[in-house]
């Protein structure tokens, strides 16, 4: 039972749905706000044409329910009787205000797993604080160490904190379900988006607990060998073997830059002293290179270079092609489009799209009518009363 909206909750239930769970998405009669979020196909502002909604809601069924009415709550509760898991991402006070706190739900279904995803978790002084992805980035500690040395901290594009929490939510839901399958016991799973960000840091809190140092955004030393460099056609990320040992002679041969064999550059301390000059040589060298040519040539030598790909290049990536990462999905309002597919592959229980994202209330008849046994008259009445 998916009571979620926006991104974190829907990504959690998408992961579960795409690997086989039957997910019933319960939307307010106006629909998940993501239905009205850009980008749209051809910029056509139509609640069935949001591309992010279409991505996040594959394999789900949609029913609408007004949870601010007694009847809506009653219908929801009858559905919960036959549900393994409820996932929600309301502000923490909302479920209790609807009479849907964990204790009440457990009375209806003792083995129920309730997964709650929220900005700061279900407890603590910031519990009711508001957030957006940028706030979570900042309060999770990732933002302070991202961006230019002498500029304001910078967040990743779009909604990375929400996706982290959604993934964590799916993992933790299955941990609780594993216990449920073994013992029949349900429980409440509390996911904090702030903590989802704060869990994935390196050398941040540890710098302080181990040495008393406070890390900051790193200065852009032009002589850093693995620094992002502009190429003739974009950017690449050289890595001539920094962590695993660097053979400078092999590197100089690889770049065919004999001048770097000079004593000014052929030891780590010399490179540090002459970093600026080295940086200028490397900058002008890479600017003349084609990023893919260098990427492939580097991997022949087992240098672990990386390449920055544009969306167009990602979609034409031969590795993704070989792994059939992008999949065609046919959707009534969007037609057939390529979507990002399996986040990982499973040999025995593969990722699979059975149905595209549902239209708003597409399954009201099937679920509320047929499954719960409401007559067409009941449904018409509920619709007239703005319950569905």
């Amino acid at each position: 039972m998916d009571l979620t909206h926006h991104i974190s909750g829907p990504y959690c239930t998408k992961l579960l749905a795409d690997f086989g769970a039957e997910v019933l998405k319960v939307e307010r009669p106006a629909g998940d706000p993501t239905r009205r979020t850009a980008p749209f196909l051809n910029d056509d502002v139509d609640s069935e044409k949001s591309l992010v909604f279409a991505y996040l809601n594959t394999n789900k069924q949609s029913v609408t329910l007004n949870l601010k009415t007694e009847k809506g709550i009653q219908v929801l509760k009858s559905l919960i009787e036959h549900t393994d898991v409820v996932v929600e991402n309301f502000a923490p006070r909302v479920m209790a205000s609807l009479g849907l706190d964990f204790e009440s739900l457990q009375k209806i279904n003792p083995s129920l797993v309730l997964t709650s995803i929220s900005n700061f978790g279900q407890t603590g002084p910031y519990r009711d604080y508001k957030a957006a992805d940028i706030i979570e980035y900042a309060m999770g500690g990732l933002m302070y160490i991202s961006g230019g040395y002498d500029r304001e901290p910078l967040k990743h594009a779009f909604n990375q904190a929400q996706f982290k929490a959604g993934t964590d939510g799916a993992a933790a839901t299955l941990m609780a379900m594993y216990h449920q399958r073994l013992t029949g016991e349900g429980q409440h799973v509390d996911i904090s988006i702030q903590e989802a960000v704060a869990t994935g840091l390196r050398d941040v809190v540890n710098n302080f607990t181990y040495t008393g140092a406070v890390r900051r955004r790193q200065p852009n030393h032009s002589g850093d060998l693995s620094r992002l460099r502009a190429s003739s056609d974009g950017h690449l990320i050289p890595n001539p073997g920094i962590g695993t040992g660097l053979n400078w002679g092999v590197m100089v041969d690889f770049m065919d830059l004999p001048e770097l064999g000079d004593d000014k550059f052929n030891s780590p301390s010399a490179r540090l002293v002459n970093a600026e000059e080295l940086g200028q040589i490397l900058d002008s060298y890479y600017l003349k290179q084609n990023k893919y040519e260098r990427f492939y040539a580097a991997h022949e030598k087992r240098f672990i270079f990386g390449v920055v790909q544009s969306p167009e290049e990602v979609m034409a990536d031969p590795q993704f092609e070989a792994r059939s990462f992008f999949v065609d999905i046919d959707h009534p309002a969007l037609g057939t489009l390529k979507y990002p597919g399996a986040p990982f592959e499973m040999s025995g229980t593969p990722w699979d799209v059975r149905t595209p994202a549902p239209s708003l209330g597409q399954h009201n008849q099937e679920i509320i009518g047929q499954r719960l046994g409401h007559t067409p008259e009941d449904l018409a009445q509920m619709r007239a009363n703005e319950i569905i």
């Binding site: 964590d168 540890n206 181990y210």
Partner: protein, 449 residues
């Protein structure tokens, strides 16, 4: 408390973050994780960022990142370049539920450790491989780093300051975590399937693919509309103000995101800017967004007179989303995280000289089956006897022979510590913001053992 995964045994052949991080999460929840490592090829996190920057003695048991990524695991050393070492690994697989690794497929194939090989030893084994680009395909054997896959996935391209022609990369191996989070989910999905059917399977994690799955805003727009938007810095596609603004102090900042007119009015009230509140350029969502650059220019000078925490609380109390850009110390001592027991105090072996220290916990709390009590990452070879002796039944003589022939060991064969520059020098180079000499006392006060 045993944790929901009590009884699950995982053999981990991991390095750095992607697999070690995800297996730590499972170890925290009760799985027994047996981590294999080589004495010949020292895991670099064992010798990096060591306690108090002191590389004397057994420095390989003092690395911050090793402790961070390997909590609650058992440690066994094994030289897999020798047939006897590989034979022991196969014995371990025969009594395991899960085998996980993050080497390149070339290495795994050379060792004869592919899923088909392991299935012969343990028919219901779940094998998890995490690689930069996936276990098969033309890039399969390409080694990768976090930045490389952040670039390949399409995330780096779109990240950067507005108007900049350069993408911006994360300063941590960001995609190791993104893929690691997906790995925890994948392992749980495989365990659920095994519980129902008794069948194991092969899980193939591509760090690039997992990351691309988290940017539909970019990839769906390109797929449908054949376009990619400009880099937007900290600005949003709808909200304004939406950004990172200077506050009082050296390199201090706050983030603010305003979604509604009501929140806008509250922001103006808290910042005491009546003229903004009535300015027609900022009257509604669309006009604020259209004039977002001007708005950002106005806000910075006003927020810079506030302390970031004071401003966050003042704005949040009026219903405006605002958050301090937390540095290492803010994060560690954050009263909210401390009250939620996000940090877990772990005791270290006395030989390390490291006092009990807090480490980041998990983003989830399970009401009935919480995490197990935190145990420090293993010393090198700490559990050789427990696992090879007690579990696999090697005799004392066999253990001695294994040590004699270098199949197992208790320290690196060629110790190469990484000496970081003194903190004063790191601050001078701009790599650290500052350091505080009384940090031990500060940590002890908030996180008593």
């Amino acid at each position: 408390m045993p944790g929901p995964l009590a009884g699950i045994r995982i053999i981990e052949m991991g390095q750095l973050i992607a697999i070690p991080f995800s297996m730590k999460m499972l170890a925290d929840m009760g799985a027994q994780v047996i981590r294999l490592e080589s004495t010949g090829r020292l895991e670099s996190y064992r010798s990096d960022s060591v306690y108090k920057n002191d590389i004397s003695g057994e420095f390989w048991n003092k690395g911050a990142n090793f402790y961070e990524q390997n909590r609650n695991k058992l440690g066994v050393t094994l030289d897999l370049s020798k047939p006897e070492g590989l034979a022991i690994l196969r014995e371990l697989v025969s009594v395991a539920d899960i085998f996980s690794e993050n080497f390149t497929p070339r290495v795994i194939k050379n060792f004869g450790l592919e899923y088909e090989d392991l299935k012969k030893i343990k028919p219901d084994i779940i094998m998890v491989s995490s690689t930069g680009y996936g276990f098969y395909g033309p890039w399969a054997n390409y080694g990768a780093t976090g930045p490389a896959t952040e670039g390949a996935a399409g995330l780096a391209y779109q990240t950067g300051y507005a108007g900049s022609d350069s993408p911006m990369m994360s300063e941590i191996p960001y995609t190791d975590y993104t893929s690691g989070e997906h790995t925890v989910f994948a392992v749980m999905a495989a365990l659920m399937h095994r519980l129902r059917t008794g069948e194991g399977q092969f899980v193939d994690i591509s760090q690039t693919q997992a990351t691309s799955a988290t940017i539909p805003e970019i990839l769906m727009d390109y797929s449908a509309n054949k376009r990619s938007g400009p880099r937007m810095g900290n600005q949003d596609t709808v909200m304004s103000p939406h950004g990172c603004y200077q506050t009082q102090g050296e390199d201090r900042w706050i983030t603010i995101a305003v979604a509604t007119d009501e929140e806008w009015q509250s922001l103006c009230r808290v910042l005491k800017q009546d003229d903004w509140a009535s300015d027609s350029r900022f009257a509604d969502l669309l006009s604020r967004w259209q004039n977002r650059d001007e708005l950002d220019e106005l806000i910075g000078p006003v927020t810079s007179t506030w302390l970031s925490h004071d401003l966050m609380h003042a704005l949040q109390n009026e219903g405006v989303a605002a958050g301090v850009v937390m540095d290492s110390k803010d994060l560690l001592f954050d009263p909210h995280l401390v009250e939620r027991n996000f940090y877990e105090v772990v005791s270290h072996h006395e030989s390390t000289g490291i006092p009990p220290l807090p480490y980041a916990g998990r983003p989830w709390k399970l009401s009935k089956t919480p995490a197990v009590d935190g145990m420090a990452a293993p010393l090198m070879g700490e559990h050789n006897t427990l696992i090879l002796g007690d579990l696999l039944g090697k005799t004392a003589e066999e253990m001695a022979a294994l040590e004699e022939t270098g199949i197992i060991g208790y320290g690196p064969t060629t110790p190469r510590p990484v000496q970081r520059p003194p903190l004063e020098e790191q601050v001078r180079q701009g790599r650290m913001q500052r350091f505080e000499t009384d940090f031990e006392e500060q940590v002890r006060r908030t996180f008593p053992a």
